[in-house]
Amino acid sequence: MLGFSGFFSRKRRYDDISVSIQEHIDERVDELMEEGMPREQAEQAARREFGNVTLIKQHSREAWQWLTLESLWADLKHVFRRLGRSPGFAITVVLTLAIGIGANTAVFSVLNSVLLRPLPYPDSQQLVSLHLNAPGAPGLAEFRSELRLSASMYLTFARHNRVFQSVGVWGPGTASITGIAKPEQVDTAQISGGVLETLNVPALQGQWLTAADQDSHSLGRVMLSYGYWQRRFGGDPGVVGRTIIVNSQSRVIAGVMPRGFKIVNYDFDLLVPEGFDPTNERLAGFAYRGIARMRPGVALSQANADMARMLNVWMNSWTNGPGSDPKWYLRWEISPALQPLKETVVGSVTTVLWAVMATIGVVMLIACTNVANLMLVRADGRQQELAIRSALGAGRWRIARELLAESLALGLLGGAAGVAVAFAGLRLLRGIGPGQLPRLSEISVDAWSIAFTLALSVLCGLFLGAIPALRYLPSRQRHNVLGATRSASTSRERQRGRDLLVVAQVSMALVLLIGAVLMIRTFMAMRDVDPGFSDGRSLQVMRIDIPETLVRGSMTALQMQNSIIEKLAAIPGVSSVGFAASVPMSGNEPSWDEILVEGKTFEGDNPPMRLYNYVSPGYFHTAGTRFVAGRDFTWTEIYGVRPIGIVSEGLARELWGSPQAAIGKRFHEFQDQPWFEVVGVVQDVRENGVDQVSPATVYWPPLMTDGSAPDKLGAWRDLYFAIRSDRAGTQSFTNEMQQAVWSVNGSLPVANVQTMQDIYSDSMARTSFTLVMLAIAGSMAFALGILGIYGVISYAVSQRTREIGIRMALGAKKSELSWMFVRSALVLTGVGTAVGLGAAAGLMRLMSSLLFGVSSLDPVTFTAVPVALVAAAALASYLPARRAAGVDPVQALRAE
């Protein structure tokens, strides 16, 4: 294309042509006048001799034009003039396309930002997460898809690896910040050395934590996130070097990380160094998530091989204390399964996003089909004009180009409006999108999205234009300039094109509807699952951590927790209070290990892993978790450090056959611990969401003798308090809760204040998001499909009025005539349904990972949806068909 300067030099050329030609004519006039002709006559003669000045100028200019583009521009002007004359059609088409293209652009932007774009770290393709599998650790898979890393593993990997530039481990945590405003609980990332080096994003202010900060014997500095820096310090650059009180200890701020920086997908407030003792760590303590940056050119398989080698080094270099067998972990069959970091970040949302993208794509196709139908009708109206032009010698390409220009213009207009729709759609999507959608903050419309929109608009335009163009090009030989409206055969042929579109629409709508209904059934199946607690709306949850730096003794900490319970219970409207180390679906997992059961041996002396939780008396009652057998703990037993426990129903059945049989049986974690007696069995709890199995769980008392030092007591300090009250979720109630906590200790921050219903909804977010998207898409598809059927039948009726008149005159019954049209609609729907069922059967299998409690070939759905669709189609065709019956034969025949 010619640029700006090209445009100006062309302007000069055009002037040159005009000047030359003007002079030419003037000179000829002079000559003729010299020959004795009067001026007026001479001017006329000169012009006549010269020929058509405008045409010659035009031809001369063409040497400088990019021919197709410029005449295309002329076509476009023509197109806009014509569209301006039928604004209803233009607006309908542009709006339909705008919604279709806009929705697609929005979803593509999400897909692009989340799945396709690299992570916001330099050379992010080198980043891996250190995933470990432990298939030999039975039971682990029930609550953990991987084995996390221990400190000793990290130290081994950092020292012995041959494939990484850097390696680090981290874990999420919380800390209370005091001394600034109100005590506040913040989200921390506990990071080892190597984490910042691996992610390699420079500090915004100050500097990274250094090796000196990671010393296990001293208190290292901390770093702030951008958000916390802004929120708490107003973005003050002088914050570096200042001191804040973290868990009652003064720590110096080393620096601030830039906006948007996350540890993998964890959005922290505070980076706290996690110092490891390079000589005294143990094998166990699988609590950390590992990340590493591979050296350039290292393949994932090489890194895996190196990790496998290092796992042997790890077992040979560390122990779990004197007398323990370091080779014991061979049973776990620990093997590395490194993952590109992006996979870890994006996780299970991949399927959802592709499903939504495909869905929206299908809606787009249906919308396009509807528009194509409109274009066909419009082209029908122009058929006479086109035939005349073609008879007058307009080339096929000339006519096709004009049809294409019109559809392209519509496509591009739709695309432009679609961008606006996309921005609105993204805002909506951010609102209803799953809260844990990774990289939510990174979602934006970028050059790729715009390119996608453009491509989609052009594609739409070409598709929409190609249909009428292909339709009318072969009709050239017919030249049916005058007889077009009477010819029954051509109208049938044209009808067939629209029929095909309707079949396509019906089948696509059916696929989407089946998808939507399957999601609804999934959602209902999930709602029917007993999560292990009751009425989440009146169950208030909050998190309080009592750091050892604030309260040293375990017994004192427990007493403080007990008084918090009493204060909370005294709030008006509270019926009961309890605490647990973790509440269901919170994503928090206090601990896990195997248990040894009295009088029982396990296969290969390898007992399965069990999920651990630590609960106060009254917690189960508060949460609404039913006792299947036995009883709750009592405070007397807790303070007496009685070795008692509660187990989940599944665990009781597995170990002792029935819940009742479990009561009185004994188990413990370590050989040198006393036996713990089972006093109660509670129903299974869906710890990881209703669509996940309930892990076998052991509930310990919150105060126990420490496994490593029998004379020492240990209390669980980071707790969720559960409060049953009708006032749950209200601001005034939250304030009273905070006051109650402060009345016990003024330095205790309250965090994660939520109702259980919020947590429950969050865990269902993926399903409900998919459901909402599919339901929207499905209903759009349904409406468009039904509209398509209605349109085709009413068009057929209007086209065949004359035929109907003749049939009636010849004695056809009204009901037969109506049935004729309804029948043709039903045939179309039937064919579309058959095609759609086949497609759905294939496509729904891809969606099976999103389904729960319903088969991807669910017979109910696969029967009900087609039946409903056929019924709707019958109704949609009956309305115009009734009009056919109302045709007056005399009128119909006279109209011709």
Partner: protein, 114 residues
């Protein structure tokens, strides 16, 4: 294209050659070109304006000609066309190819007469 007085079409490229050859003598403006060709062909050939001006523009674009602001013989502002080096090379190339073609053509005609 160009027509003879008997309305015979000239072969493709003939007009260009005539323009180039004329401008080789001296730079000219459009009207002068028409007159020149008419004169030197003793009125046998007449260049149509409808062909001349588009041809001039095509040749300008090819770089065979240059246009400059000037005045006509009557003193009116116009554009004077001048042959470029590239135009000269093109002309020589074309002329020799035409000469070969004419030679062949003449021989065929001669043989047919014999």
């Amino acid at each position: 294209m160009t027509t003879s007085t008997e309305h015979r079409d000239l072969f493709p490229g003939a007009l260009e050659i005539m323009i180039l050859q004329s401008l080789r003598l001296k730079p000219m403006h459009g009207y002068a070109l028409v007159k020149h060709i008419k004169q030197v062909s003793d009125d046998l050939l007449r260049v149509e304006e409808g062909s001349l001006y588009p041809a001039l523009q095509r040749m300008l674009k090819e770089g065979w000609l240059e246009a400059e602001t000037g005045v006509s013989t009557k003193g009116r502002p116009t554009r004077i066309y001048r042959l470029t080096d590239a135009g000269l090379r093109h002309l020589e190339c074309e002329v020799s190819s035409f000469e070969r073609m004419f030679a062949g053509f003449t021989r065929v005609l001669a043989a047919a007469n014999a």
